[in-house]
Amino acid sequence: MIDPSWVSGLAALLFIIGLAGAFTRKNAIIVLMCIELMLNAANLQFAAAAVHHGDTTGWVYTLFAIAIAASEVAIGLAIFLAMYGKHESITLDDVNVLKN
């Protein structure tokens, strides 16, 4: 079996990548994808910990998180649709109604 520590390391790396992407990208869908990446990283970490500790609670969380992430994406995409309807673009830079 794979050593859980490596999985954990991978999860950390993925998290950082996702975070960097969330800060930097201007396309809203890409940002959503980065958030998913971060969630995925957290899931990985949980799974590795569950294997390490021998407790299924970690896996239960993983399943729940996947389900919630899916619904969250659905809502997110709906919001993007509404945003597109209003501002004619999904570039986050163009949406600055709350500026100052």
């Binding site: 986050l92 500026k99 100052n100």
Partner: protein, 844 residues
Amino acid sequence: MGSTGTTETIHSSVIEFAPYIVFLPMIAFPIILLFGRLFNGNKVWVSTFKEGGIFALVTMATSLLLALLLIKDYIGAYGDDSKSALHVFDWFSSAMWNGGATTTEISFGFGLYIDHITVMLLFIASFLCLLINTFAIGYMNTDPINDNRNHRFYAEFVLFCAGMLGMILADSFLWLFIFWELMGLCSYLLIGFYYERPSAAYAAKKAFLTTRVGDVFLMVGLAMLWHLFGSLDYAVVFDSDNIAAVDPASLQWALGMMFIGAVGKSAQFPLHVWLPDAMEGPTPVSALIHAATMVNAGLYLVARMFPFFGAEAMHGELVDLAFIIASIGGITAVMAASIAFVQMDLKKVLAYSTMSQLAYIFTGLGCALWLANSLDWHHDDDAHYIVIIAFGAALFHLFNHAMAKGMLFMASGAVIHEVHHAHHHLHHDDHHHTPKELYMLSDYLASKKLSTFEFFKTIDLDGSGEIDMFEFQTALKNTEVADLPPWEMGDLMKAVDLDGNGTINVPELDIVLAKIKGKTYEEHEHDHHHDDHFDAQSMENMGGLASKMPITATAMLVGSLSIMGFPLIGGFWSKEGIIANAWRVGLEDPRFFFPAACVLLGAAMTGFYMSRMWLKTFAGSPNNEVAAHVGPTNTWIKIPLFTLTFVTLGGILFAGMGFTHWAPDSGYALMSEKGLFEGIGYELGHAFANHDMFFFTLTYIAIFLGAIVGPGLALSLYGGALDEGETAKPWFTPILMLNAAIKGRYSWDNSAFATSSLSRALQNRLYFDHYYDMAMLKIVAAFSLKAAHADSKFIDGAIKTIESTSQSASTSLRKLTTGSARDYILMAAVGTLMLFALIWGVMA
């Protein structure tokens, strides 16, 4: 402190009621004000209650009665019985921290302190208040300009009396000061009684502010006194042991400050500028406040300082202050008398006379205080006598002056009143006063373009061809001109009903409306008052009134003689005393030659200007037709004049009773050493046949100057015999004959004096007002401009800076909200991470 009633063997049961002397007028003040507001315009209130005048009269009479009962008990008392204190109530008590572990209790209470000086002033104040109240009823209520606002006058009048009586009876300097301020307030209110007149408002403000300047010094003095003694109660402050423990130099300064307060209140140089302007108030105000009572407050204060000067521990230390007091008195006496030379306004002459006479009293007090401080009067009987007599002369002059000046002002008020009436009769009765409603009716007709005839037809309800009161009233109501009740239609009907048959017909209405056509009500009123430039107070509008107003003329004559110091009449006894004492002190201390000389010169000047005043008003022929039209005055005014004439004439009796000895000395009872006639004989001898050669000559010089030179000059310049067919009372005849004779033979042209620059300077009141105004403008106004500038720049600036700083801070902070979602994610992430790090750090 508010001591628990140091009531030394008082055998007076009245003293328990004595506080009511003050409380009754004080309570009457809001009552009169309230009733006046409630019943304003009510006929009964106006005619029967004289808009509160009767209330005031009853209150003052009760106060007088209580005062007389009190006086009766004290007048014969002497020794310890003659001084009493009564504790009335505790005002407040507190504790003062001494800086260590102890506190001292202090409490301020109100109590009464009664000794001979109190008794004398109590009599003066309550008696004059009552008489002037009577006069006011006759003066104020018969002048239509005062209608429906007399209640304000009487309320303020009564409050003033409360203040004066309270001040006299108070047992500590604190309460003296409180009532002093109360009188200042009432003075302001009463001088500015005709507040719609800018000159009156200005005069009131000036009076208040000038006395305020003095009051500041008085407060400082009282504070110093409190610091020295720890209390302001007379019982503590006059105690000789306490005085011995005090530093003389500081005491002199404290008393000096208090004296400045007295200078302000009694209108002495340099704070005298308010008194002539204060004549803007109605005459009863001038009589009461500025002749008889308030200006005596300053004198009372100085008189109360006597125990300090007389204390053994202070021997010789306070002479400088005494000299200052006497000098200010001397300067003012001459200055005021000289300005009085050129005054044409009757009341202003009397105002300056008041100033001058008060200065006399100050000189007298100054000399007495010097004597008390320099002579060893506690041990030497002769010295004791001299000091007491000196002090008593000043107090006696206060008494005589108050009576005489009050009477003079009342008499002048009577004259002014009658001249005003005469003017009205002559000039205003021709103009039938057209009521406002007719103007409105005329406007109505013009706006509806109705002719008088058409209008008449519409309002003639029964078609009789004539309009009676009811139809006219209805017409006015229907045209919305006025909704008058029947009893107010009378004047209106009279204005229109020209033939007086009780009904209006077309021609009458036509004539009346045509007369007012084209004019507005305001224009008409303006024409009406055009000739109100007539100055009822100027002596140019008088002359020859001796035959027309006999009682007034007599009163004024007696008063003038008393003020002049004419032998045997009232003021003579006291004035001679003051002059003699001034010179006595001058012999001992050469500095005092200055006030002594001033006082002697002043006697001559007083003689001149008082005679000038009387002669210009009452002797000679009338100056214009108004003066010729004057008639005698009404009863309310006559009563006080009558009474005071006799009081002034009775000055010799007071002198004979040993008044000068009794007033200051609590160890002496009236008529205890000599009987009345013996006393009179003694006084006559003392005056006219003095043993000491110096004083003998002095007396006669003073009489010569005061009674012969001064009046003589006046007799030769003014007055003259009455017109043909005018008869005067028998006692005037010798005077008028003398006047005619002297004027005929010795008349001389004084136009050189009259047009000189000195005369002009005097007419401008020696430019004091001018210099004070300039000083105020340059110093005070400049300073206040700078202060205002600093306020708007620095203080407002500080606030504005805070405001703008927070504004700019907020603006720059808002830049964080970029509106970009990316930045928000960043911020959220960073925040969370920091929280996590914090918790991780804490946990680890």
